[in-house]
């Protein structure tokens, strides 16, 4: 079937109509030329980028930076980097809250963030809400601007494309748009209403992957969530990986590479690096430990004790795994992931 095309040719010059419907603050600059200036000078050297989490966080996470976190809340999250940010008491960070569940909970517990682009925060999906995270927003500790999951995914996409905005058809007509920083505009071809979403170029992103080589070529198994675009949108990128593999492993199946080395600033091998979250094909989420977090969030005293035990009181992420059951626990989560155990 062939449909007759409507006559879309622009016949005469017309005043372009923009309506700034979003009243809230835009936390990052969407200017693609500013980003190009940064990317022009980003190193393309294919060198060994392996390091420690502590070194990477010290070098690449400065107070006040705006961050994007890979994965999906409790799935394939870069927990080791998040803990190190808390342990080093980083301050005034901005966050892209694209289904930010346990990641948001960790950063709020450490009082690390002061602004957030919100699609989803506070809740841990079916597990319930974090009381501490809820209070932080209700009491105004964190400045917020509303978006949606697709809006944040597409804001990354625009940045990854190297353009300063992207049109979309969500949020229109709602308070979600009113409390965003979006602009309504007219399509130059169809004259239909669209929402213009500003590109989001985070200062840095952190992504946990299944395998990477020392240069930062990365492969992810299972769903990508929004990490393909996040890796490209971000000015700096910290990679933690379940396994460090020889370059030859990457070259054997190049179609599986989702992040090429020139996007990456640091590579750290962190086995069980998404714990207590789920890492597809590796280990399931530790539901008991996530419930412990939610319980600890109930009062400042219990949370202080919990953070002292699990983050401030241990040297690194390995120490955290050790006090939460170590290899026995990890083996059990592996059996749950592969359905050998309920």
């Amino acid at each position: 079937m062939t449909m007759k095309m409507q006559d879309y040719a622009v016949k005469k010059a017309k005043e372009v109509v923009y309506t700034p419907i979003g009243e809230r603050r835009l936390f990052s600059d969407p200017d693609a030329d500013l980003a190009r200036e940064y990317f022009q000078h980003k190193s393309r050297r294919k060198v060994d980028k392996t390091t420690t989490v502590a070194e990477a966080v010290t070098r690449l996470v400065s107070d006040g930076a705006y961050m994007g976190v890979g994965g999906f809340g409790t799935n394939r999250i870069p927990t080791a980097v998040l803990h190190e940010i808390v342990r080093r008491r980083k301050k005034n960070l901005g966050l892209s809250g694209h289904t930010a569940t346990h990641d948001f909970q960790i950063l709020v517990a450490g009082k690390c963030i002061d602004r957030c682009d919100v699609a989803y925060i506070i809740g841990l999906e079916a597990r319930g809400l974090s009381k501490r995270a809820r209070l932080a927003v209700e009491q105004g500790e964190i400045e917020i601007t509303e978006w949606t999951n697709a809006a944040l995914a597409w804001r990354y996409k625009a940045a990854a494309m190297g353009i300063s905005f992207i049109p979309a058809r969500c949020m229109l007509g709602t308070d979600t748009a009113k409390y965003s920083a979006a602009v309504e505009m007219e399509c130059p071809f169809t004259e239909k209403k669209y929402l213009a979403l500003p590109a989001l170029f985070p200062d840095l992103a952190m992504i946990h992957v299944h395998r990477a080589d020392v240069y930062g070529n990365c492969q992810i198994d299972g769903i990508m969530v929004s990490d393909f675009d996040l890796a490209r949108a971000s000015k700096r990128l910290i990679i933690t990986t379940e396994r460090l593999v020889p370059e030859e492993v990457i070259r054997r199946e190049p179609q599986r590479t989702v992040i090429p080395y020139y996007l990456v600033d640091a590579v750290i091998e962190v086995p069980y690096g998404a714990y207590p979250g789920n890492m597809a094909y590796e280990y399931y989420s530790d539901e008991e430990h996530l419930q412990e977090w939610l319980q600890a969030d109930q009062s400042p005293e219990t949370l202080d004790q919990f953070l002292q035990r699990n983050i401030y009181g241990v040297k690194d992420f390995g120490g955290y795994l050790e006090i939460n059951g170590g290899m026995d626990r990890m083996a059990r989560l592996r059996r749950q992931e592969t359905l050998l155990e309920k």
């Binding site: 289904t99 809400l129 697709a150 058809r169 949020m171 299972g222 789920n278 597809a280 094909y281």
Partner: protein, 256 residues
């Protein structure tokens, strides 16, 4: 046969899902309804999750819409942009939403309670993917318990669009024409939307529930369908499949 209100809502919701259609679901009751529909009524109903899972053979209830169960033995493990773009392109027929408040036009609040945005009385997670799905999917459904606080026209924040202010309002706002709220399945009745006014109207009343009870538990004036029906209770086959196959550990149906 005995059943609880969660089982009733899931069984009724499953009957609205047609075969050979696409549905995006979250965790909980919507996922159970889609799995039940697949088992009994719509074997080729395609289940998708917003984080990227497409067509899994779900081994159990996922606890997150991005956990590995959502793409267990799936047809595709894709991405958030892939699923959301499929919705925006007009290929997704159904979705289910949840929320703290809903008004007579099916607008939903999952963001906050209170009058001051900067100091909300209660803050909830926000849209997540709900606003996107409510904007793009052809037929939007909700499974919820019904009470006068939840069903109110004094909705504090419109997170996700229903029919906004009535007929034509979605289109005027720029939302894709022809999409919008379809059914609201509660523990008291099944509601649809009047074609002219786009207001919520009662289509069928559950066994043992009176009209007065529904009115008492609704904060706005309801319309009543001219062909008002009695809801068919869950069948033995539905309950057996739901209990033995869909949710054997009673994660969802045990919550009633």
């Amino acid at each position: 046969m005995e059943y609880n209100r969660m089982e009733l809502m899931i069984c009724l919701a499953s009957r609205f899902l047609e075969d050979e259609k696409l549905v995006v679901v979250g965790t909980g009751a919507p996922c159970a309804a889609a799995m039940l529909a697949q088992s009994l009524y719509a074997p080729n109903l395609m289940i998708m999750f917003e984080a990227g899972g497409i067509g899994p053979l779900l081994p159990s209830m996922p606890i997150s819409v991005g956990d590995s169960r959502t793409f267990y033995r799936a047809l595709a493990a894709s991405s958030m942009p892939e699923v959301m773009e499929t919705c925006q392109r007009g290929m997704v027929d159904y979705t289910f939403l949840g929320g703290a408040q809903i008004d007579m036009y099916g607008n939903i609040n999952s963001t906050m309670i209170g009058q001051n945005y900067d100091r909300p009385k209660v803050r909830f997670p926000g849209s997540g993917g709900a606003n996107d799905l409510a904007s793009f999917c052809w037929r939007v459904m909700m499974i919820t318990v019904q009470d006068a606080r939840r069903f109110t026209n004094n909705i504090d924040f419109v997170t996700s669009p229903g029919y906004l202010t009535g007929k034509g309002a979605r289109e005027a706002a720029g939302l894709p024409p022809g999409s919008g709220p379809y059914k609201v399945i509660t523990d008291l009745c099944v509601l649809g939307f009047d074609a002219q006014s786009k207001r919520m109207q009662v289509e069928s009343i559950h066994p043992g529930i009176s009209r007065e009870h529904i009115i008492e538990n609704t904060g706005f004036e309801l319309l009543w369908s001219a062909e008002l029906l009695a809801s068919d209770p869950p069948t033995a086959a539905e309950l057996k499949t739901l209990r033995d196959k869909v949710d054997p550990y009673r994660y969802i149906i045990g919550r009633s």
